[in-house]
């Protein structure tokens, strides 16, 4: 009985923590994903270079650098949101966003905001494509008819943005030096 109660409380606490994972709002009432990172003894220039590489190399297919200064980067990006059906799924829409990065010595911050959602629909060939070019701000209430679906979109978007944020932090913490190709060691069985 004790263990059963413990499992019930543990499950309840996990449920509560899952519900709390949602976007905060900025001063303008827009959803924002904001992180400040105290990095490991890295100069501002190094942080800026790595962030620039992240936008222009690692994520070049989905991000476009808009502007860069000696301490900041502004970029726009899109990410595809998926809908899962049992073990498979398909794209359900895309979210466009603004990405802002600012660096100081040993410290940086970044945030993602101005998120717009564009729903996808299957075309005549079975491919999922955007139904419109005009996105809906995530902050906008969809009305009662689509409240449940919108909540799913918000949750999926948050999960994607959070994963993106973690990848960015990992990228900035990693020293990417091109390694020379190692010669493949060959083993001869003729002499021993």
């Amino acid at each position: 009985m004790k263990y059963l109660l413990f499992i019930v409380f543990a499950a309840f606490s996990f449920q509560l923590s899952a519900q709390q994972k949602q976007f905060s709002k900025d001063d303008n009432g827009k959803y924002i994903y904001y992180k400040v990172v105290d990095s490991l003894a890295l100069s501002k220039d190094t942080l800026l270079q790595r962030a620039k590489s992240f936008v222009n190399v690692a994520y070049k297919k989905s991000m476009v650098q808009e502007s860069i200064t000696d301490s900041s980067i502004l970029a726009k990006g899109t990410m595809v949101i998926d809908k899962t059906i049992l073990v498979a799924g398909h794209p359900s829409g895309e979210v466009s966003y603004n990405f802002v990065f600012e660096a100081r010595n040993d410290k940086y911050r970044f945030w993602i905001t101005d998120m717009l959602y564009i729903p996808y629909q299957r075309d005549r060939y079975g491919n999922f494509v955007a139904t419109t070019q005009i996105g809906t701000p995530l902050e906008r209430s969809p009305g009662k008819l689509n409240a449940g679906a919108w909540k799913d979109i918000l949750n999926s978007t948050y999960a994607k943005i959070e994963k993106f944020g973690e990848e960015f932090k990992k990228y900035l913490a990693t020293n990417r030096v091109d390694k020379a190709k190692k010669k493949v060691e060959t083993i001869s069985t003729k002499k021993w």
């Binding site: 498979a88 299957r122 005549r124 079975g126 008819l145 679906a149």
Partner: protein, 339 residues
């Protein structure tokens, strides 16, 4: 034909070396189900003879549609099957006589030689026209005369080159319309020019030769839609089909204004003019049709109430008494769930 194929493969071979490897995607499963109730004002089933929704005063079935898609590297496939009246006997071709079989909506493979150039081979939804078989792809539940008389699907091989996000060109060779296999060889030639002049506006200029219900000929088609504001969208479809040897054909145009009146609720109007071309002394019918439709969306479900009024001076419709009539009207309620 040989020159066209040679040109296509030459383009593929000279551009394939520079492609970046694209990511592998998991298996995608999607589809839809739909059902409807239709009431013909003359109490006649199939009084308005456009495709699908042919019953009267009956809660009837559309189709269940299942699609599988997967991409591995640069290669991908799509396989789509449908079952039910809309997806079987009312889609062309019906694999088994009597409407008892399934229908293949799409069955093709695609290869992305580069980010700009790809080739597709198999059986595909046609690139002609504004409306499609799947109710998910149409705003109106009933279909237009242009859709009913045009091709539904094409089997063939096509190449697409994307010059930019604003311009792309497709060219291909195909079997006859709506046929799993060719009856006179791979002899139909088609092409599509896509242009997106401004954001939100896309236009497709299409040409396809081949055989429709009346014989072999060539169809030219313009399909375009423009999301003018966040709430207002305007679509247009215009087509001309000429059957060889003055064998007739058809021509028509349809306008599709749509307005989002509230969150999840959009009203749309379809106005269509359609003319069957004269063949010798035999005059073809002319039709005008006005359809008022609402799309009420909640998640994956779309509820579609619709009223349609058709007119033809040739009196091809019927009154309740069975007498010929110049007008026909119908009211329908449809529910479409896309997953």
């Amino acid at each position: 034909m040989k020159k066209l194929l040679t040109a296509i493969f030459a383009m593929a071979s000279t551009t394939c070396a520079l492609a970046q490897e694209t990511a592998t995607s998991p298996l995608e499963i999607s589809g839809s189900v739909d059902t409807y109730f239709k009431y013909d004002f003359a109490k006649k089933a199939n009084n308005i003879t456009t495709s699908f929704a042919s019953d009267h005063n009956s809660v009837s079935l559309g189709m269940i549609d299942i699609l599988l898609k997967k991409k591995t590297g640069k290669a991908s496939f799509v396989g789509e099957l449908s079952f039910g009246p809309r997806g079987q006997s009312q889609s062309i071709p019906d694999a088994a006589a009597g409407g008892s079989s399934f229908h293949i909506q799409n069955l093709y493979v695609n290869y992305d030689f580069t980010d700009k150039f790809s080739m597709t081979a198999g059986y595909m939804g046609t690139f002609i026209g504004y409306e499609v078989i799947s109710p998910v792809g149409n705003f109106n539940y009933s279909t237009s005369y242009l859709f009913t008389n045009g091709p539904f699907q094409n089997a063939g091989i096509k190449a697409t080159y994307k010059f930019s996000d604003k311009v792309s060109l497709m060219a291909g060779v195909f079997n006859d319309w709506n046929a799993y296999s060719a009856t006179r060889g791979v002899s139909a030639v088609g092409g599509q020019l896509m242009v997106a002049p401004v954001e939100g506006w896309t236009a497709y200029i299409n040409v396809l030769s081949g055989a429709g219900a009346g014989g072999y000929g060539t169809i030219e088609d313009l399909t375009t839609s423009y999301q003018i504001t966040e709430k207002f969208k305007l679509g247009l479809n215009a087509a001309n089909y000429d059957i060889d040897n003055d064998g007739g054909g058809y021509a028509g145009a349809a306008l599709y204004p749509q307005y989002a009146v509230a969150g999840g609720v959009t009203l749309g109007l379809r106005g269509e003019y359609f003319k069957v071309k004269d063949v010798g002394a035999l005059q073809g019918n002319k039709y005008t049709s006005v359809t008022l439709t609402a799309n009420i969306k909640s998640g994956g479900l779309t509820f579609i109430p619709e009223v349609r009024l058709d007119h033809s001076g040739n009196m091809p419709f019927f009154k309740e008494s069975g007498a010929a009539a110049p007008n026909a009207g119908q009211f329908s309620l449809a529910a479409v769930y896309a997953f």
